[in-house]
Structure formats: structure tokens, C-alpha cells
Amino acid sequence: MIDLEKKEDEQQKQTVEQRSGLRELFELFSLTGFVYGPLDSRLNIREALEKNLKKPVPPHVNWLFCFGGISLFLFTIQAVTGILLLMYYRPTIAEAYKSVVYITNSVPFGWLIRGLHHWGANLMIVMVFLHMLRVFFYGAYKPPRDFNWVTGVMLLVLTLGFGFTGYLLPWNQISYWATTVGTEVPGAVPFIGTYLTALIRGGQAIGQTTLTRFFAIHVVILPLTIGFFLLGHFFMIRKQGISGPF
């Protein structure tokens, strides 16, 4: 046993000596470094990857169990296309609509990026709802997964918040009036309704302050918040495994 280990050690020493400095550097800073090279010997990336990719799925799992994953996939698309749109979008009432038209008509593949963001938003809301329905009808919200349901409801609210705040950003007729209607709704709350509406709008009517607020919520506040809840949601799934069979 000890002899064998000694032999392996010698072999490893030899391979280390054969490496040139340049190759070592390349491997350290490249993907091969992460998965096969010197970084892996320190971080065990390969082992972790294999453990995650080869994690067995219980046999009762079917397509209905994929809605959460599809929601995450769509969220990633929203994050990437959203960051790309930020490169051209200008959040002022004079420039917002113009910049959106510019993205759609003039920027190469701008129509594609904007279309992906638009369709991704709608599909994500659909998928989050389907995911929630599946969890509800299978009773997968019951303990010990009850806190997963709680974070899931938070994620649903945040997703709808993304949709509501993103809708105003193109600053066209439909978004302006939809936001007018949407911000009238909290006005019905007794006693504090008018204050709530004024808080959301940043004034009496929809204007530059509203656009600035919605932009800030859409690109900074909501992404940070949803990231926090997503991490919690996924950590609990990983810890508790897939629910069922039922």
C-alpha cells in the first residue's frame, strides 16, 4: 500500500517537472485549469461538477417537475438580455421611447435582444405560475418544504414586480396608461392610499420621477432581492431533495 502511494507520488512529481511555466500559467487561468489543471487540485471543481451533474433523479420525476428549472432558465435569459439592453436604454422621459426604437430598428440584433427580453418576461410569469400550481396540486408545499413555499411566494411577487416595473420602461402609450391604472390600485387602501400612490409615483402624476423609480427598482433593487431569495430557494431544494413519490 505504502509502496503504491510512493509510486504515485513519484509519477506526480515527474508530471509536475515536465510542465513548462507558460503551460502552468495557461492552465491556471483557463477552463482546463479549473477542471483538469492546478486550480482543480486546489478547488476540486471537477469532483464538484461531477457530483452535481451525476446526481440521480428519483424515477417518479416527469416533465411537470421541470417548470421551476425552466423558470430559472428564463430568469437567466432575462438577466443577460436585460444587461445587454442597459447598454443602449436611456431612462428619461424625453429619450426612453427613442432609445427603445433605436434598439429595435437600428442596433444590430437589437430586435432579437429586445424580443427575447419581452417574450422571456411573459413566459417566465407563465412558468412560475405553472410551477406553483404543480407544487400546490402535488402537496409539495407541506413540511419540511414549507419554507420553500414561503420563499417561492416571495419569488412570485418579485417576478410580478419585475413585470410591472419593466412595463413602464419603454415609455409608450400603453405602458404609461397601464402604470397609471396600476398605481391607482393601492390608492384604494383606506387612510394611506393616497400616500402609497404618491410614494410609488414619486408625485401626483406619472412623470420622470416615476420612470426613474421604476428603472431603479427594475435593474437594481429587484435583481438583488430576487437573487437572495433564489439562493435560499435552491439551497433548500438541494438540501431536501425532490418531493414525492405521491
Binding site: L84, M87, Y88, S106, V107, P108, F109, G110, L112, I113
Partner: protein
């Protein structure tokens, strides 16, 4: 009978000699090629998206810039874009106009016209150029590029009109 077995044997030998591609590795290649194609197309469109239209065409266009004389009184300077380069046009007297690149040859700041000292001063590291673009002092290694200027009735034309 013996002939048939012989041919079968030969065939088997050939099969063992020939490099085998297993079904799984073939499928793996197909998946790899598809994802490479898809990833490449996605990356291509994203890369194109990040370069706005006209990002490079401004440099290529060598169109002449015209400035009405009323906009440039004697002793004043005006910043224009010529061939996509930030440039400065200075009118020192009634019939004397200079057009220079305003990009300092040191580290690329935009120089300003100091009318009292009749020099161009770079705000970043205090390089000084004279009216013809020659270096008077400072860290600038080369003179400023100057552009041809012509008078046409009531306007100034920069470039070969």
C-alpha cells in the same frame, strides 16, 4: 462453406483494425457541434449588438465640414468633428484660419485655445502647442495634425472640398 467463413473472418479482422467510432461518441460529437453552433451564433449576435451602428463609419467618412463665417468671429475657436476626430478651428484674423486635430499627441486629451497667449493648451499634462500645431513645451511627442482649410464665400470649409 469454408469460403463463407473465411470472408466473415476477414471482415471481422478489418472491423477490428479500422478505428471504431462508438454510437455514444458520435452522438456526443453531434451534441457538441450543435451547442458550438448555437453558442457561436448567440455570441455573434451579442457581439454585433454591442457595437452601435456607425461606431466605425465616422472615421472612414472624410466628408468636408463647413462652418458659416458668422459662427467663427476673429480671435475665436470652435470645436468640430472632422473625419471622426475631435478637431479645433481657430480664426486668428480676417483671412487666417487654422484647423487642427484637438487630440493631444501625449495621451489623447482635447486641447483648448488660449486666446491671450495664442497657444493651444492641453488640460491634462500641460502640453502647449502653437497655432500651427507644433509642440512648444510639455510631454507631447508629436505636433498636432493640421487639416486644409478653404474660404468659400461666407463659410469656411475644412478638408479637401
Amino acid at each position: 462453406m469454408s469460403k463463407v467463413t473465411e470472408t466473415v473472418c476477414e471482415h471481422q479482422v478489418e472491423m477490428e483494425k479500422a478505428p471504431k467510432m462508438r454510437r455514444r461518441s458520435f452522438l456526443n460529437y453531434c451534441v457538441g457541434a450543435t451547442s458550438l453552433l448555437f453558442g457561436g451564433m448567440s455570441l455573434y449576435s451579442v457581439a454585433k449588438f454591442l457595437f452601435p451602428p456607425g461606431a466605425f463609419s465616422a472615421e472612414a467618412a472624410g466628408e468636408a465640414v463647413t462652418i458659416p463665417l458668422v459662427e467663427l468671429p476673429v480671435g475665436s475657436a470652435k470645436n468640430v468633428r472632422y473625419k471622426g476626430i475631435a478637431s479645433i478651428v481657430i480664426r486668428t484674423s480676417e483671412k487666417n484660419v487654422h484647423a487642427l486635430s484637438a487630440v493631444c499627441t501625449h495621451l489623447g486629451c482635447i486641447v483648448k485655445w488660449d486666446s491671450s497667449k495664442q497657444v493651444l493648451v492641453c488640460p491634462c499634462h500641460a502640453a502647449i502647442f502653437d497655432i500651427n500645431g507644433n509642440v512648444v513645451s510639455g510631454p507631447a511627442p508629436r505636433p498636432l495634425e493640421s487639416f486644409p482649410v478653404q474660404f468659400a464665400r461666407d463659410e469656411i470649409v475644412i478638408g479637401e472640398a
